[in-house]
Amino acid sequence: MAEVAQRKIRVLIAKPGLDGHDRGAKVIARAFRDAGMEVIYTGLRQTPEMIVSAAIQEDVDAIGLSCLSGAHMHLFPRVMELLKERGVDDIMVFGGGTIPDEDIAKLKAAGIAAIFTPGATTGETIEFVKKNVKAKS
């Protein structure tokens, strides 16, 4: 944890799939930035491949995935799969969007650390990320 405290936490905020609802992702990105983190916002229409490549390239500590189109059960686990394939195990992945409770359990089982649904505050999301990013070697 001490190592992480030395450098700013780096977070990739991504919009996987075709979903264009970017209000939440942008608010989170800005709030994280205001909270002292380095934020890279990928923009829209990212494939899981593009997201994982960007995350590795940018050497981020966490990835935030946003999906409001109902395609999260396909897209989010795919990101986890790709991270595993590329041997990456020190990036924490969290998500948000229009995600019913029964899917949250499945996503967590796939390795997503947390899902922030409508009503979650930027405050609690920031706290979670700060507490749960893994120390980078």
Binding site: G17, L18, Y41, G70, A71, T98
Partner: protein, 564 residues
């Protein structure tokens, strides 16, 4: 409303009231907050009187319903003559499933159809495109070709029902498919009624379902306006939208101003394409949000009507009164509904729907209580429809036209909305017009700022959201949700592959070649008009992806600037 000396007297009496009655009360019982703001964060005064409307002119600012400037409503009798159209947005899975939901809603008393398409369809991809994986049928119905469209409207007489289609980048294609279905049903062109959303500018600004760069996209919109003007007199070719702008986080004023600014672009473009303004303006329509702050929303609708009437008559010189009418659909604010204690959303939707009705909307969709979690179940959608029916038949608000007129508060808010809109129009003009403003990210930045400001207000509890930052419950029983599995995707892919095998390939290739030529052509308002070619392709069972793919080839794709 009042003479100058009456206003002077009221002003004096108000000062006396503040000193003698208000001040002692405030000393004993201070108000609940430092300041009171609307949902859009606009400061709201404690009290409004006639002094808030100096120079208010009954005929100029208010007038009569059904007469310029239409502040009180588009028609003299409004809902006494005809209720607004109850038009519930619906669509999920395959065309067969959505057809069933359409018929159910019509049986329950809705008065018109409104179609939701899935993301691959909205983005012009076939169901088997790599980008469509996991998205097919999830947020609307999957339509890949005319064959799906035929199933979607099977058993529904399109000569008797009007249909709205929420589709923008591929609007021309879905419209052509709808027209082709009407042809098969034997419905003459002049009887075909409905709307395509088709407002591409708001995609760059808010909804983000753009495909091509701005210029060819606007050309496509103008092409449809021309086609409508010449062939489909009952069709609303654009639903100039504020809803998505509002949902992306804008204030009510920004929603109003950016929407009308977009509208002005479409009017200018159609005129540049050679049409007389009165030849198409009567078939432009609008689409606004109904958010929680009832009075702010009512003021927005009234100001919108007054503004558009003034713009159309004075700026564009329209002579036909039908060109001055801001005819609008409205939808209750999806972004205001909560995942926590979802039954509360029924109350929110009722208030928002009431705002739309008091605002004088022509058509209304009410959201279901499960909005924050999934597409609506049949039961939740029915409650939402019943909400409209209760307002229409039990609340009494339809007994008279524009019941809130004359309220000092409402007339002041209406004036403020209009003044604010004119200020935005000036800023946009200074930026070089709305298209330039969009390219420079102006509306996008305004929206992002407003969204952030609002979220901060919620987090410091200046804005209370019941069940979310106050009056929360720990344990909540789950409610039944509509679940779309990936079967629809498998079925669509199967059907698509069958279609590709069975159709006439020669007719198909000829139609796509002709389309490609026209798309690349230099005579967009003459021999290179696109709608007739799109119709040919659609009739040859070209898929949506194939047609949109031709445009992608010729025009390329748009990448947006990252504005947070």
């Amino acid at each position: 409303m009042s003479e100058k000396k009456d206003l002077k007297r009221i002003e004096q009496e108000k000062e006396r009231w503040e000193a003698e009655t208000l001040k002692p009360t405030l000393k004993k019982n201070p108000e609940r907050a430092e300041r009171f703001t609307s949902v859009s964060m606009t400061p709201i005064e404690r009290l409004y009187t006639a002094t808030d409307l100096p120079g208010w002119d009954f005929m100029k600012d208010l007038g009569f319903p059904g007469e310029y400037p239409y502040t009180r409503g588009l028609h003299p009798t409004m809902y006494r003559g005809k209720l607004w159209t109850m038009r519930m947005f619906a669509g999920f899975g395959t065309a067969v499933e959505t057809n069933r939901r359409f018929k159910y809603l019509l049986e329950q008393g809705q008065m018109g159809l409104s179609t939701a398409f899935d993301l691959p369809t909205l983005m012009g991809y076939d169901s088997d495109h790599p980008f469509s994986a996991g998205e097919v049928g999830k947020c609307g119905v999957a339509i890949d070709s005319l064959a799906d469209m035929e199933m979607l409207f099977d058993g529904i007489p399109l000569g008797e029902v009007t249909t709205s289609m929420t589709i923008t980048s591929p609007a021309s294609v879905l419209w052509a498919m709808y027209v082709a279905v009407c042809e098969k049903q034997g419905v003459p062109y002049h009887c075909i009624g409905g709307t395509i959303q088709n407002d591409i500018l708001k995609e760059y600004i808010a909804q983000k379902e753009y495909i091509y760069p701005i210029e060819p996209s606007v050309r496509l919109v103008t092409d449809t306006v021309l086609f409508g003007a010449h062939h489909l007199p009952r069709w609303n070719t654009i639903s100039i939208s504020g809803y998505h702008i509002r949902e992306a986080g804008s204030t009510a004023l920004q929603e109003l101003a950016f929407t009308l600014a977009d509208g002005m672009v479409y009017v200018e473009e159609a005129i540049r394409a050679g049409l007389d303004v009165d030849a198409f303006a009567p078939r432009l329509s609008f689409f606004f949000d109904c958010h929680n702050d009832l009075f702010e929303e009512v003021a927005k609708f009234r100001a919108a009507r007054r503004l558009w009437a003034r713009l159309m008559r004075e700026k564009f010189g329209a002579k036909d009164p039908h060109s001055w009418l801001l005819r609008t659909h409205a939808q209750t604010a999806g972004c205001s509904l909560t995942a926590q204690q979802p039954h509360n959303n029924i109350a929110r939707v009722a208030i928002q729907a009431l705002a739309g009705v008091l605002g004088g909307t022509q058509s209304l969709h009410t959201n279901a209580m499960d909005e924050a979690m999934a597409l609506p179940t049949e039961e939740a959608a029915t409650i939402a429809l019943r909400t409209q029916q209760i307002i229409a038949h039990e609340s009494g608000v339809t007994n008279t036209v524009d019941p809130l007129a004359g309220s000092y508060y409402v007339e002041k808010l209406t004036n403020q909305m209009e003044e604010g809109a004119w200020e935005y129009f000036k800023r946009i003009e200074d930026l070089g017009g709305m298209i330039r403003a969009v390219e420079r990210g102006f509306p996008q930045r305004e929206i992002a700022d407003a969204a952030y400001t609002y979220q901060q207000a919620i987090e410091r509890e200046e804005k209370i959201i019941v069940g979310v930052n106050r009056f929360t419950t720990d344990e909540e029983p789950p409610i039944p949700l509509l679940y779309i599995n990936r079967e629809a995707e498998a079925q669509q892919i199967d059907r698509l592959q069958q279609l590709r095998r069975s159709r006439n390939k020669d007719a198909l290739m000829l139609s796509l070649d002709a389309l490609r030529q026209a798309a690349a052509g230099k005579d967009p308002w003459g021999k290179d008009l696109l709608m007739p070619r799109i119709l040919d392709a659609v009739r040859a069972y070209a898929t949506l992806g194939e047609i949109m793919g031709v445009f992608r080839e010729v025009w390329g794709e748009y990448t947006e600037p990252n504005i947070i």
